[in-house]
């Protein structure tokens, strides 16, 4: 194409002796000449642009940044409310965080003597320093939020179902990596907020069974405070200089690399598994990705960028006093996305709250596509066709955020309950003393809950009338309430707390599985219902503690098994 030499702009001979006569110049000619040259054409194919189907397709395939897209998609994919652009926004924030993170690395030194000072330098001396730091911080929080929302969206549109089971699992791992990325970054400012949040977070690692020195069976592998999994994470027995260096390396190199690799895998599978599951409309025709999808992606990205830009200029990232390992703030709280787990520490022993439950959540999430055999509801939102899956999943998500809310706003000094409008400076009396079930009652309760919970939904054939069942529960609750009021002189709010949580357990742990779960095959039923029952058990235990001050339902200290 470049066989015609580009004409060199030469000053035209000036026939008229006008002094101000400049050479003929126009932007259009300049662009035309520049884009016609060899340099331009070597960089950009398919030039000049023509609005033809062939060009629109080539625009995608010949462009390294866009070629991950197909050239054509079904019109459904363009609907904003289908994806809300959440996956793309997660990736956008990952990229933004990489850019701001690299820029911050120019100013930040990961040593205990200098890290905090560098925060102050960023705020007070570095040009755009505070903007960079704010941006990095708020983007990180936004990324955590959006990745979670992305998971919810993918669940609700059934997009994890066959053949996309594996990619859902990759997504779950990416979610935990996102949390870990944010968590490792949390330490780097080296202020009180940072070291105590990380202390709370990493103390949970010490409770790991077998591998943590405070966990069950720690002595089987000879775990002590200076050789367990927490020691490996911290590079010491407390959060110190080695921890800062370790977290810095993990935050800047290790975790982003692993995350990046998995993102590639995730995208690759998205492409290979294709967007094709939703039912086809009659006479549906695919549309060109350029410009239809690309422009929507651009708008979503622009909204996101504008939002984080605004927040970064308007609100400063928190920075408290210089880290002091000798001064523990009261209360010490983990980063917000772990406050749900920290809240569970109120109700359970650390190895259950900090290791078992999060482990089961991750495994349970990964198991979802293999347990859900319902072929309906792929590629669109539907409650009717997937009542059980949606109800249980959304229940778990809401419960998670309620726990985070409680941990963030309702917990004050000594981790006592303070309502958001109550001042932490007016001290609350200690909560009432707790008590545990006697062993026989504990064994009976656990065995009864597990046995009946597993067996009943499967054994009871036929349809239960939910209206009648709920009325029945109401009557049962009134009897129970009367018994508690008369027998134990228990305050009304406590009875209501226990009653409400019992009803939720009745609804989601029994009525739902009885109607929707009993017909799947035996293995899947066992796994799904036991996971479901364990989730409801967490709720029940919360009710027993908040309402009736029960410490343990089952107490077997010799096996470190206190539930």
């Amino acid at each position: 194409m470049s066989d015609t030499p580009a004409p060199t702009p030469s000053p035209a001979p000036a026939p008229a002796p006008k002094p101000a006569a400049a050479p003929q110049f126009s932007v259009d000619t300049l662009i035309k000449e520049a884009t016609n040259g060899q340099i331009w054409k070597s960089m950009f194919r398919n030039w000049p642009w023509q609005d033809t189907a062939r060009h629109r397709a080539r625009h995608i395939v010949d462009n390294v940044w866009l070629h991950l897209h197909p050239t054509k998609v079904r019109p459904r994919a363009l609907e904003t409310t289908f994806t809300w652009g959440l996956g793309g926004l997660s990736f956008l924030l990952y990229l933004l965080l990489t850019i701001t993170g690299v820029l911050l690395m120019f100013y930040y030194r990961p040593t205990v003597e200098l890290a905090y000072q560098d925060m102050k330098d960023l705020q007070f001396a570095v040009s755009f320093g505070i903007f960079l730091r704010n941006n990095h911080r708020w983007c990180a929080h936004a990324m955590v939020t959006i990745v979670i929302l992305h998971m919810v969206r993918v669940f609700l549109t059934g997009s994890y179902k066959k053949p996309r089971e594996f990619n859902w699992g990759v997504g779950v791992i990416l979610l935990t990596l996102t949390l870990f990325l944010s968590f490792t970054g949390y330490l780097l400012p080296w202020d009180q907020l940072a070291i105590w949040a990380v202390t709370v977070g990493t103390n949970m690692a010490a409770a790991t069974p077998f591998l943590g020195n405070e966990g069950p069976f720690a002595n089987l592998l000879g775990m002590k405070i200076n050789n367990d999994v927490r020691f490996v994470l911290l590079g010491g027995t407390t959060v110190g200089a080695n921890t800062l260096l370790r977290f810095y390396v993990m935050h800047c190199v290790l975790v982003p690399l692993v995350t990046g690799a998995l993102i590639m895998l995730h995208f690759w599978r998205v492409r290979k598994d294709t967007f094709s599951a939703a039912p086809r409309q009659p006479d549906e025709e695919k549309v060109d990705v350029w410009p239809h999808l690309v422009v929507r992606e651009y708008i979503a990205a622009a909204i996101c960028v504008a939002f984080v830009w605004f927040v970064s200029v308007a609100f400063d990232a928190p920075l408290e006093e210089l880290a002091n390992p000798n001064v523990t703030p009261n209360p010490s709280k983990a980063p917000w996305y772990f406050l749900g787990l920290q809240e569970l520490l109120v109700y359970f022993d650390p190895w259950i709250a900090g290791v078992l439950i999060p482990g089961l959540i991750i495994k349970g999430l990964c198991a979802i596509p293999y347990l859900d055999t319902n072929p309906k509801g792929v590629g669109y939102y539907t409650w009717k066709e997937r009542p059980f899956a949606n109800a249980i999943f959304m229940f778990g998500i809401v419960m998670w955020f309620v726990l985070i809310y409680i941990g963030t706003y309702c917990r004050g000094p000594n981790y006592f309950w303070y309502w958001p409008w109550e001042s932490w400076l007016i001290h609350k009396p200690a909560p009432p003393p707790t008590w545990s079930f006697p062993l026989w009652l504990g064994v009976l309760s656990i065995a009864g809950y597990a046995g009946l919970g597993m067996a009943l939904p499967k054994l009871i054939k036929g349809e239960i009338d939910w209206k009648k069942a709920n009325w029945g529960f109401g009557v049962f609750f009134l009897v129970l309430a009367a018994a508690m009021k008369i027998g134990g002189d228990i305050e009304a709010w406590r009875i209501i707390v226990v009653g409400a949580l019992l009803w939720m357990t009745f609804l989601f742990g029994f009525l739902y599985p009885q109607r929707y779960l009993k017909d799947i095959d035996f293995m899947r039923y066992q796994i799904a219902q036991s996971l479901n029952l364990m989730m409801m058990a967490v709720l029940l235990k919360m009710g027993l503690r908040l309402g009736l001050d029960v410490k343990y339902v089952l107490e077997l200290p010799q096996f470190n098994l206190n539930i």
Binding site: E113, Q117, K120, D121, Q123, F124, A125, S127, F128, F131, D191, Q192, V295, R296, Y298, I299, A302, I303, V305, A306, W309, F310, S312, V313, L319, E320, E321, N324, N326, V327, P329, N330, S423, L425, I426, H427, K428, P429, A430, P431, P432, P433
Partner: protein, 446 residues
């Protein structure tokens, strides 16, 4: 809205936000101060130039004017490498740069530029001390609020007025003889007179009833309960604003308000969990010194105490004083009086043993209220003892559990007579007893 409009709208929005970010970054507070300083400097030099008499003068002033005009805006800082300090105070307090202006005096009277020649600035080289070693505040900060340090999460706000003499106490063992450290000296004298060491110790020397004050200036603010530090409305006192949560305010409040308001404890065991019993906690046992101290006294004591910090400076920053010699006394009574003061007996028994201090819930007599229990007034009781009995009493002390309570289920009285057997012995003990008998009121002789 069409997508095209959205596309352009959002792009311009991002552009606008970016411009906002740039503008904000370029209009930092400190730049205004440097602009103003440059204006002042240029007009001053112009005036001087127009009044200049000789050519040589004109030439040097002209050069100075050119230099002032060329002066760009920049963050400036004073480095004290030994202390790891980089103080950016001179970014706004332009002209106080120790290199450009070793005398640290300026002809200006406007606030951030004002500086008169202070002998302390000459004797404390800024390249060794920087600014915040003495003045405190946040040296790395470049905004007015943050730099002066009266902000949340900064525990060492700038020391103003006479309280800056805390800095003298930190290094000068001989601060009592220093010119300019009179307030701190007065604070130390008050502490000796009031008998603080009866209950408090300084680096292990002194009483055991309350906290060691040897590093009180380093006390982390999160270890302090700020609930009752603010303005009081009747009985109830709120909390100070968070930006005022610093140790200096905490110490000063102990001398401007009743300590049992400041640290109310839990005398009625209200903090107990429902349906449980727990021990009541007595309020602060510190006597209400605010009744007899002026505001200046409180500032003086605070200035001295803010000098009590764990050694943070290299050893060559210290000026050591020879240890104080034990004074010699002509008679045993005078020596006894000295011993009485040395061990802080006045802290509880009052100056000269004349008025026992408040001891919450101690039963003094049937008329007193719970909060007005008193320590024994020595002038009244000492006469009832024999010399041998008094020796034993000082030797063994009286544990708190042995003090009769005003209210039986109330808290243990916070003050008690410690065992002095390790501290007061030999000649000191004998002369103390002699002194005590000398102040005893005459007893009736049966």
């Amino acid at each position: 809205m069409t997508k095209r409009q959205l596309f352009y709208g959002l792009n311009f929005l991002i552009l606008g936000l970016s411009v906002w970010a740039v503008v904000r970054d370029n209009t930092r507070e400190w730049k205004d101060y440097q602009t103003e300083f440059k204006r002042l400097e240029v007009s001053r030099l112009k005036d001087a130039l127009s009044n200049a008499a000789t050519d040589a003068e004109k030439e040097s002033l002209g050069a100075a004017l050119q230099a002032a005009k060329r002066q760009g805006k920049a963050i400036r800082q004073v480095l004290a490498n030994d202390l790891g300090k980089a103080d950016r105070c001179v970014t706004c307090h332009v002209g106080l740069d120790p290199y450009a202006n070793p005398g640290l005096s300026t002809p200006y009277t406007e606030h951030p530029y004002k500086a008169s020649e202070v002998p302390e600035h000459k004797s404390h080289n800024l390249t060794k001390f920087a600014c915040t070693s003495c003045h405190m505040g946040q040296g790395l900060a470049t905004t007015v609020e943050d730099a002066h340090g009266r902000v949340a999460h900064w525990e060492e706000p700038m020391l103003t007025g006479p309280s800056i003499q805390a800095a003298c106490v930190r290094c000068h063992g001989d601060f009592k003889t220093l010119k300019g450290a009179e307030t701190a000296k007065r604070g130390k004298e008050l502490i000796d007179r009031l008998g603080c060491v009866g209950c408090h110790s300084f680096n292990g020397v002194g009483g055991e009833i309350s906290v060691d004050l040897g590093d009180i200036a380093d006390k982390p603010t999160s270890r302090i309960d700020w609930s009752h530090t603010g303005e009081c409305h009747g009985e109830h006192c709120g909390a100070l604003e968070k930006r005022d949560w610093n140790v200096k305010n905490w110490i000063e409040l102990h001398f401007t308000r009743d300590p049992i308001v400041l640290v109310p404890g839990d005398p009625e065991a209200k903090q107990c969990a429902p349906k449980t019993k727990c021990e009541p906690v007595s309020p602060s046992g510190m006597p209400p010194f605010y009744k007899e101290l002026s505001k200046e006294d409180a500032v003086a004591i605070t200035a001295y105490l803010m000098g009590q910090t764990a050694n943070k400076y290299p050893s060559d920053y210290f000026v050591y004083a020879a240890p104080a010699k034990e004074p010699a006394f002509a008679n045993p009574t005078a020596h006894g009086q000295y011993v009485f003061q040395k061990y802080g007996c006045a802290g509880c028994h009052g100056e000269g043993g004349k008025e026992g201090r408040r001891n919450y819930n101690a039963k003094a007599n049937d008329q007193t209220k719970m909060e007005e229990g008193l320590e024994p007034t020595l002038t009244k009781v000492v006469g009832n003892y024999t010399r041998e009995e008094l020796r034993k009493k000082i030797h063994d002390g009286v544990p708190a559990s042995a003090i009769a309570k005003f209210k039986e289920d109330g808290p243990m009285p916070p003050l008690y007579m410690p065992k002095w057997n390790e501290k007061i012995k030999g000649q000191e003990l004998e002369d103390l007893i002699t002194y005590l008998f000398s102040i005893a009121e005459k007893q009736e002789v049966w």
